[in-house]
């Protein structure tokens, strides 16, 4: 569990951060303008040297949601297995965030996955291209307005017949 000193340090440094607790897990919600500063502070001054995951939630059709995409960073402190969740929100059109690959090299593939599935652009990422889906895929399929059965991508494959050898 993250110590209360750390939480207080974050709150003192970033007064606009909303820190909530649920079952001894802390979540820090910050505006998108300062998310990079918060993560840099956590890495350089609080010892969170590990990026565990970057992921995203699409709040389209979600009752009472103010913003469309919530981007979630999970950072870890290896000395005592602390985990902290940092969350920020971005909106259409062109949801964009600054990259955190300058803090953690390991964020490269995580950001590429979020770009692939949700279409969140990470400014400053050296190689932001699709990681899971084929290069020529057009959509971002984990967005809620993308149909579950797709837009025909699974059918647009050439057919191999018996007489082709």
């Amino acid at each position: 569990m993250v110590s209360s000193e750390t939480i207080q340090a974050i709150q003192a440094r970033f007064p606009s951060a909303e820190i909530t607790e649920f079952r001894k897990q802390f979540r820090v919600c910050v505006p998108r303008e300062i998310v990079h500063d918060v993560l840099r502070f956590l890495k350089d001054e609080c010892g969170f040297t590990l990026i565990i995951d970057i992921t995203c939630v699409d709040y389209l059709y979600y009752p009472k949601a103010k913003d469309r995409f919530g981007v979630v960073y999970i950072v870890g402190r290896p000395e005592n297995a602390d985990r902290l969740i940092v969350k920020t929100f971005v909106n259409d059109p062109e949801p964009t965030l600054p990259t955190v690959t300058d803090l953690w090299e390991g964020a490269r593939w995580l950001e590429r996955e979020v770009w692939d599935m949700f279409g969140i652009r990470f400014e400053g990422h050296a190689n932001l291209r699709r990681i899971l889906l084929p290069e020529d895929f057009q959509d971002h399929p984990l967005r809620k307005d993308y149909p579950l059965q797709g837009r025909g991508e699974r059918h647009n494959i050439p057919v191999v017949t018996r007489d082709m050898g």
């Binding site: 797709g150 025909g152 699974r154 059918h155 647009n156 494959i157 057919v159 191999v160 017949t161 007489d163």
Partner: protein, 209 residues
């Protein structure tokens, strides 16, 4: 002229085709294309308890060039389909394909944007095995049925291959109004007339000769 009754007891007369088919069917070399949970059941079929060797199909090869039976076990996503087709095209004739499990045959419960709704839309399939996953006995039954099919069809010199109707390969496209429906697309090699012709001649002859 020798009469049948004059032949010694240890001589059997048969058609060459039947003999060749009998050899083929008892020496299938499977290519395990196992992409998901069905692959585990495929491995169980190869293991000692169910013992696929009883049907002459125990030599699993991971090179398509050494195989003549492709067993597709598991769901295939649309990014994997060109890989599967390429492996299939690398196998030599005569070759057969078993679609193992609900996913390979129909997409199964995975009716999503990425999962191909049945591999038979894009490559030829000889046998379908139902189940999720099918028991090893079911796969063995499919191999037995396939052996029967091999015995019935096929010929020593590939006449059956020549008799196959030539259809120019076509793309299937999603209906723009309802992506769940399919419509036939244009021939795949439409821009390249020469490429479309390569298979119209008789086997063994080049189109120009």
């Amino acid at each position: 002229m020798t009469r049948m009754t004059d032949l010694p007891d240890n001589v059997v007369i048969t058609k060459l085709d039947a003999l060749v088919n009998w050899c083929r069917k008892n020496s299938l070399w499977p290519m395990p294309f196992a992409t998901a949970c069905c692959g585990i059941e495929l491995m169980a079929t190869g293991a000692s308890r169910h013992d696929i060797a009883r049907f002459g199909a125990e030599v699993f090869r991971f090179s398509p060039r050494q195989c003549d039976l492709m067993i597709v076990a598991g769901r295939v996503v649309m990014k994997m389909m060109p890989v599967l087709q390429r492996i299939w095209l690398q196998m030599h004739e005569p070759k057969w394909c078993i679609s193992m499990g609900a996913c390979a045959s129909t997409g199964g419960v995975f009716d999503t944007y990425a999962v191909v709704q049945g591999i038979d839309r894009f490559i030829p399939v000889d046998m379908y095995v139902p189940g999720c996953p099918p028991r090893p006995e079911q796969l063995l039954q499919a191999i037995i049925d396939l052996q029967e099919k091999i015995q019935r069809e096929g010929s020593a010199w590939g006449k059956d291959v020549e008799r196959r109707p030539h259809q120019p390969p076509r793309a299937l496209l999603a209906d723009p109004k309802n992506p769940r429906l399919l419509v036939a697309g244009p021939p795949i090699f439409a821009q390249d007339e020469a490429a479309n012709k390569w298979d119209t001649g008789k086997r063994g002859e080049s189109p120009d000769s």
